[in-house]
């Protein structure tokens, strides 16, 4: 009986956590569309967040994109040539690499860097009672702390993922010339024919959803920290697991929508 009880308790706890997160997400989205949210203080925080998430890592991001992206494109092209599937390289490049791998790799990069930092920051602020101080001074936590980070997540992920895709396609020019002996005109024609506007739009929306949840979930977990310092690693690890679960769920859902 106790095993069943434990299973039931766990399921209820998970379901409750899931619904709480969704409700919180709705609350945040509602606040996002209110004009009064965008005060001077909030804009300053948002600016700083975008700077630390996207601009500061740009050089590293370029290097990783070019190296990883080029290698990926090169290997895929080589494989297609060996299998005699050169006719499909446009579809593979656009359908798989640009619309699937590019957002996924970007989200992993941002999650490992920014989500972990946000999670820890929130937990430490909670432990140090900084959250309480802000509340005493009637500074809305959602407006000042949460929304800038979430908006930053959305903007950064969409822009960085697009940048990654652009760099991939550019390195594709080089590899298509080396491996297939293809000129730029032929390459761009193939890409244009394979590119589907709806797929690209879905990919951008997916990036925005990724960005939303990889910032929302760490914030929620960080705010669950208690007054003890020992609660910090617990909420951080829980938050990161939650983030990776959300990434997988969103990825699966986007693949399902592609089927239809």
């Amino acid at each position: 009986m106790s095993v069943l009880e434990n299973i039931g308790r766990l399921e209820i706890k998970m379901f409750k956590a899931f619904t709480d997160t969704i409700m919180f997400a709705f609350k945040v989205i509602f606040r996002m569309f209110q004009r009064r949210t965008y005060s001077s203080a909030m804009r300053m925080v948002l600016l700083n967040q975008i700077y630390f998430t996207s601009v500061q890592i740009l050089p590293l991001f370029f290097i990783v994109s070019i190296i990883l992206g080029s290698l990926l494109v090169g290997i895929v092209f080589q494989l297609l040539k060996q299998l005699g599937l050169t006719d499909f390289f446009g579809n593979v490049l656009m359908g798989l690499i640009v619309t699937e791998l590019s957002p996924f790799l970007t989200v992993l990069l941002i999650t490992l860097r920014s989500s972990a930092a946000i999670n820890t920051e929130m937990a430490v602020m909670k432990v140090n009672r900084e959250i309480k101080t802000l509340e005493i001074f009637r500074i809305d936590i959602i407006d000042y702390l949460i929304l800038p980070r979430i908006i930053n997540g959305v903007i950064s992920l969409v822009l960085l993922s697009s940048l990654f895709s652009i760099l991939l396609l550019t390195s594709g020019i080089l590899f298509s010339r080396l491996i297939f002996g293809m000129s730029i005109d032929v390459y761009s024609n193939i890409i244009l024919n394979s590119a589907n506007l709806s797929d690209i739009v879905i990919s951008l929306i997916k990036c925005a959803i990724f960005g939303f949840f990889i910032t929302l979930i760490p914030i929620r977990f960080g705010l669950k920290a208690s007054q003890e310092l020992t609660s910090i690693p617990i909420v951080v690890s829980g938050g990161m697991v939650g983030v990776f679960t959300a990434i997988i769920i969103i990825e699966v859902l986007s693949l399902i929508t592609k089927l239809f």
């Binding site: 600016l47 700077y51 996207s54 601009v55 822009l159 697009s162 652009i166 244009l192 506007l197 690209i200």
Partner: protein, 253 residues
């Protein structure tokens, strides 16, 4: 360079790059092109579908956007043609609904004179229907009927041949058949020939003693004559029997 400047630069540059890429893609896909609508008509809507391609010289130049019925019961087919393909649609262009055996159906535009006036938007052109499969059925059906008839005839003939073969077998090999009769005849001949041997022996005897055997010789001669006559008749009868199936029996005198 202040932090605000860097962030602003990053957002602006990346957004512009993304928007340019999307705009370029959209324009190449014909998203922003002017699209013109023409109306075609047909007695039947069978075979037409929304989104069906309109093809000129094997290239897709447009597609069917809408199908509707007018008051007279004619099917009106609206096709959308982008600006850049308008030059292929002329006033004297013909439109054919082509339904191949293999592949999707399409509307094929044929324009003999590319210098003629463009097709007016209000003109309702007729669509001819060419069905590979229906035409094929029309051609093949009579052939199939013929083949069926031939097969039936062959069957009848083969039945007749079977019956004839049975009869022939019976006539040749049956109890009263030709071959047993021939056997009988041959046996008779052998008997006669044996008699002839005997007769020849007698002749030899007679020839040794010619003075006394004149009567015997005459008798002998008439015997020989009778035997030879009988053999003649047998041979004639045999000839007749072999050549005539209808009188297989005869009696040897």
């Amino acid at each position: 360079m202040s932090r605000e400047f860097k962030v602003g630069l990053f957002i602006v540059c990346t957004t512009i790059a993304v928007l340019l890429a999307l705009l370029y893609l959209s324009s190449e896909k014909g998203f922003f092109a002017n699209v013109y609508t023409f109306t075609l008509s047909s007695k039947s809507g069978d075979g037409f579908t929304d989104g069906m391609p309109v093809v000129f010289s094997g290239f897709k130049i447009g597609q069917v956007s809408e199908l509707e019925l007018n008051e007279k019961g004619l099917v009106l087919i609206k096709i959308k043609i982008p600006q850049r393909h308008m030059k292929w649609i002329k006033a004297d262009s013909t439109f054919i609904l082509y339904r191949p055996l293999i592949g999707a159906a399409r509307i094929v535009v044929t324009t003999n004179n590319l210098d003629s006036a463009p097709m007016p938007p209000r003109k309702i052109a007729d669509v001819e229907i060419v069905n590979d499969i229906n035409d094929l059925i029309k051609i093949v059906q009579p052939l199939i009927e013929k083949i069926t008839q031939i097969a039936e005839n062959l069957e009848r003939i083969s039945k007749k041949v079977d019956k004839m073969a049975d009869k022939t077998d019976e006539q040749l090999y049956g109890k009263e058949g030709t071959l047993p009769q021939v056997n009988k005849i041959l046996k008779n001949i052998i008997n006669k020939l044996e008699k002839l041997d005997t007769t020849v022996d007698n002749i030899n005897k007679i020839s040794k003693d010619t003075s006394e055997g004149t009567k015997d010789f005459r008798m002998l001669r008439s015997d020989i004559d009778d035997a030879v006559n009988a053999m003649d008749k047998v041979v004639i009868k045999l000839d007749e029997l072999i050549s005539s199936k209808k009188n297989p029996e005869f009696e040897v005198p």
